[in-house]
């Protein structure tokens, strides 16, 4: 059923449809309405779940780990400092190979306090072992949450679905909310790989000596690598049932491009509009939407970006002392593959500053003119 709703509402509906058994909630701007809706669903009987109103995000994740380990399907939502507070437990959940699904509404990190959007909160967690997805639209947000459950429970790794704070979380769009029976067909009851079971008692997560830790990590890495293929299977199945497809990497007018923009989340939407305008001006500009950030879909990116064109990576994040995170990951892939594409790094939209078509146009032109050497940061839209 089509409704005009916000990104948060779309994510909440997806979570409801997935039928989690245990939901833990804690408020933080701009995710709070997701948590509120979950509470509403449970109170109105629309969702039969145990809702735990914990006292901090750290306890949110602890409670979900406990619940997931007992065999439950779980859900929560957070942002920024809440996500950061969970950091040690994000590692824990991944090491425990638990298919927890969490919506993260991207919000920049303090100090100073900010409530507005950038991607450092989730990207800071890139080493924790969580799969990460970024959404351009509210529909995509809803669909990605559903796909995330399917994928997570298949590969036994936790999944983070990211929505841009305010741009996506609070703006309204028409969204098709699927029927419960379709979702049930796509997402049957979870069958846990392991669980706390009194009829088959084991200890979980015991002290592990150097003799074994290495191989457990190896196994998780191997599984992560397979995700790059498995996501496509999941997406294909989703597409068959729901009629929509969200590939991990989407290439837009890249084949003849002389310069290709690579970016994530709502900035993609702005870029789609901008490259059409630039093409009208005669510039052959292409766009690659990076949806799945972890595992980093290197093969798909190499396929989407031909050998010739320059690449302009638009990072809505800044790793102090490094620069943009996506550009770093991309360069890793390209160097390992022996590619000679010139890669330019632009940083925009930090702390919720709008990324405008004008900024994108300027960056494209500057890249064409080699105004910034590869390795230098193009500070887009900054008062520098």
């Amino acid at each position: 059923m089509k409704k005009v709703i916000t990104g948060n509402q779309a994510a909440a509906h997806a979570a409801r449809l997935a039928r989690p058994d245990v939901v833990a909630v804690y408020p933080i701007t701009p995710q709070t309405s997701v948590s509120e809706m979950m509470a509403e669903f449970v109170a109105r009987g629309l969702l039969k779940a145990r809702l735990i109103r914990v006292e901090s995000e750290h306890s949110v994740m602890a409670a979900l780990i406990g619940a997931s380990m007992t065999g439950a399907r779980t859900f929560t939502a957070t942002s920024s400092h809440g996500l950061a507070l969970m950091h040690e437990l994000l590692h824990w959940a991944a090491g425990a190979r638990l298919p927890i699904v969490m919506v993260n509404v991207n919000r920049a990190m303090g100090t100073p306090w900010t409530i507005w959007c950038d991607h450092l909160d989730s990207l800071s967690q890139r080493d924790t072992g969580w799969m990460q997805f970024y959404c351009e639209s509210s529909q995509e947000a809803l669909d990605t949450v559903l796909q995330a459950y399917k994928l997570a429970e298949k590969v036994n790794l936790p999944a983070m679905v990211n929505l841009d704070g305010f741009y996506l979380s609070h703006t309204v769009e028409p969204v098709d909310i699927p029927e419960q029976d379709l979702v049930d067909a796509f997402l049957p009851t979870r069958i846990p790989l392991y669980r706390l079971d009194i009829s088959d008692p084991h200890s979980f997560g015991a002290l592990t000596s150097p003799e074994h830790y290495y191989e457990l990590r190896y196994k998780a890495q191997k599984q992560m690598e397979q995700v790059k293929q498995i996501i496509k299977t999941v997406n294909a199945e989703f597409s068959r049932i729901f009629g929509r497809s969200w590939p991990p990497v989407e290439a837009i007018e890249t084949q003849d491009a002389e310069i290709i923009i690579v970016t994530m989340a709502t900035a993609v939407g702005t870029c789609r509009w901008t490259i059409r305008r630039l093409r009208q001006q005669g510039l052959r500009v292409g766009l690659v939407k990076l949806k799945m950030f972890r595992p980093f879909p290197g093969e798909d990116l190499l396929e989407a970006i031909p050998e010739g064109p320059r690449v302009l990576v638009l990072d809505r994040n800044l790793s102090l002392g490094l620069g943009g995170i996506i550009q770093q990951e991309l360069k890793n892939i390209f160097y390992s593959a022996g590619r000679r594409n010139q890669i330019f790094s632009a940083i925009a939209g930090l702390g919720g500053r709008d990324i405008t078509p004008e900024q994108i146009e300027l960056a494209v032109k500057q890249s064409r003119q080699d105004m910034y050497a590869a390795g230098q940061i193009n500070w887009l839209g900054g008062k520098i």
Binding site: R97, Y194, H202, S203, F204, G205, E215, K219
Partner: protein
């Protein structure tokens, strides 16, 4: 079971999930010490001359397993109903409970189980094997009966020769009815002789039958007793009015009634014979005084006897010595006395010396002298009494002559029923060793004793000792009814609960409850340390209330 180390990631699960338990890890290798469940001796058991396993039978009474308790007592003591009435209970003096409140009333508890046995247990005749060797026992007092009892239980045929017309020795002739009723004595003796011991009454060895005629016996245990009253060698001792107290007692116990109404009887002595004679005279109507050389606290007689005598109206004159007797008239006699003073020397010994110018005299109608008894060595075979002043025996009752053993009042300086019983038992063990040609050293027993400092008193609360009921003094002094009525069933069960069970495991489960390493294995009422896992922390040793576990150092352990 061994520790699992995976050799390839393919063998491994996806997460750190346990595969099996920790039993492969033998934490016993951590320790250099190990607790060993080992019973030790309680001081009561060591102090009991008979060797009764007191903590064990008290625990059985606690569990109301009276038959088992009775059997434990009868393993060493053939006559608990008797000793439970007449023994001077050195066990109670050694009882560790006294450091918390009062010692256990073991004496009363033994009487209880002895009486229970008489009521509920019938004796079966045992099969004796003449091939093993026939044993002769001379004298049917406690020593002789004890020896006969232990030997018949081992399968040796025994014949007891008794010079009197009834068995029992001092039990019958020396101890009054109100202390040991004849019906109790007869029943107890019957239960012993019913085992198949042959009893030949009116047969004195050395007179009615010669020592040589005993040559057919494989061994001879002589327990002919000591009933010759010692003389004081004082002027006037041979006067009619001065009698040996034992003679008086024997006549009374044989049934002779004395009418001593209004008579003043003076008893000289400080042991049980003096007390028995005094209380017997009282019951015949006399006004009785006991003259004791020592202070009242140092009198040898058991404190309760003295207490009961005083309640009945016997006067105790302490620190009085007698110099001589003078005839006044056919009924009266003067006893010349002198006061003594008590001195305690530096090593704590008490000495008595005459107080100068303290002579006084007392008038009485009858004087009973109870200054101890000696054995009549004349009746013994010549070769045994070369010195003729005493009969030498070792701790097992062995004499200088092979095949001849002796015990009881005849051979021991401690002339008590308990020691007599003990000597009979030891002689039986020695006789068996001799007949089996075994080394008597094999008879030595484990002598680890539990001292009060070995106990953990945290598990015991102060509880007063239960009391027995006695007949009212005014009631009991008229006649010879048994004075001590014993303890009620309720009191018995309360009293046994006070026993610490020193050195003897009574399955309190502390070691099992408190072991952090599941290294105490419990099966039925036995405990064993699982040395594979025991880390040697020692908690079980510390928390054992009764010192039944010992922490020992491991030697030459393979790690």
């Amino acid at each position: 079971m061994k520790r699992r180390v995976y050799t390839n990631q393919q063998e491994m699960p996806e997460v750190a999930i346990s595969e099996s338990g920790s039993e492969w890890n033998l934490t016993g290798t951590w320790s250099t010490v190990v607790p060993v469940h080992q019973n030790k001796n309680a001081p009561c058991r060591i102090d009991c001359p008979v060797g009764v396993d007191i903590p064990v039978y008290l625990d059985l009474i606690k569990q109301k397993k009276y038959l088992k308790a009775f059997k434990i007592v009868k393993q060493t003591n053939p006559m608990p109903a008797i000793t439970g009435r007449v023994c001077y209970h050195p066990c109670e003096d050694g009882c560790n409970r006294k450091i918390l409140d009062q010692p256990l009333a073991i004496h009363s508890l033994e009487r209880f189980i002895g009486d229970w046995g008489l009521e509920n247990v019938t004796t079966r005749k045992l099969k004796a094997d003449p091939e093993k060797g026939k044993i002769a026992v001379v004298g049917s007092g406690p020593a002789g009966i004890s020896c006969a009892y232990h030997l018949i239980k081992k399968g040796y045929p025994v014949t007891v020769f008794e010079k009197e017309s009834q068995a029992g020795g001092m039990l019958r002739f020396g101890i009054p009815e109100y202390r040991l009723p004849e019906r109790v004595l007869d029943r107890e003796l019957k239960s012993i002789f019913d085992l198949g011991i042959e009893l030949r009454l009116n047969c004195q060895v050395g007179k009615d039958i010669t020592w040589e005629e005993l040559a057919n016996f494989a061994a001879v245990f002589i327990a002919s007793g000591a009933y010759r009253s010692r003389k004081m060698n004082l002027p006037g001792e041979n006067l009619d009015q001065v009698k040996p107290a034992l003679e008086f007692l024997i006549e009374a116990n044989l049934g002779r009634k004395f009418d001593l109404t209004g008579q003043k009887v003076l008893v000289l002595g400080r042991g049980n014979t003096a007390l028995d004679a005094a209380r017997t005279a009282l019951r015949f109507g006399a006004e009785v005084s006991i003259l004791s050389r020592s202070g009242r606290e140092e009198m040898i007689a058991t404190p309760e006897e003295i207490q009961m005598a005083v309640e009945e109206g016997v006067q105790i004159l302490e620190l009085v010595d007698v110099a001589g007797f003078e005839w006044i008239d056919p009924n009266q006699i003067r006893v010349n006395c002198i006061r003594l003073q008590r001195e305690v020397n530096r090593s704590g010994q008490i000495k008595y010396s005459s107080l100068a110018d303290s002579q006084f005299s007392l008038t009485g109608n009858l004087v009973l002298v109870a200054k101890g008894q000696d054995a009549d060595l004349q009746i013994l075979p010549q070769n045994l009494t070369k010195d003729s002043s005493s009969l030498e025996v070792d701790q097992w009752g062995r004499t200088s002559q092979e095949k001849f053993y002796a015990g009881g009042d005849l051979a021991l300086s401690n002339k008590t029923v308990a020691y007599a019983l003990g000597s009979g038992r030891k002689a039986a063990l020695a006789i068996e060793a001799y007949l089996k040609k075994m080394d008597a050293q094999a008879l030595e027993e484990n002598i680890l004793i539990t001292k009060e400092t070995d106990l953990n008193l945290d598990y015991f609360a102060k509880t007063p000792r239960e009391t027995e009921s006695l007949l009212d003094p005014q009631v009991r002094k008229v006649g010879f009814r048994e004075v001590n009525l014993g303890m009620s069933q309720e009191s018995i069960l309360k009293e046994v609960a006070r026993c610490f069970s020193c050195g003897t495991c009574n399955s309190c489960d502390n070691c099992f409850t408190f072991c952090p390493d599941l290294a105490t294995y419990k099966n039925n009422h036995q405990y064993r340390v699982v040395t594979e896992y025991c880390k040697g922390c020692g908690i079980c040793v510390q928390e054992c209330p009764r010192d039944a576990i010992e922490l020992m150092v491991k030697f030459g352990e393979e790690l």
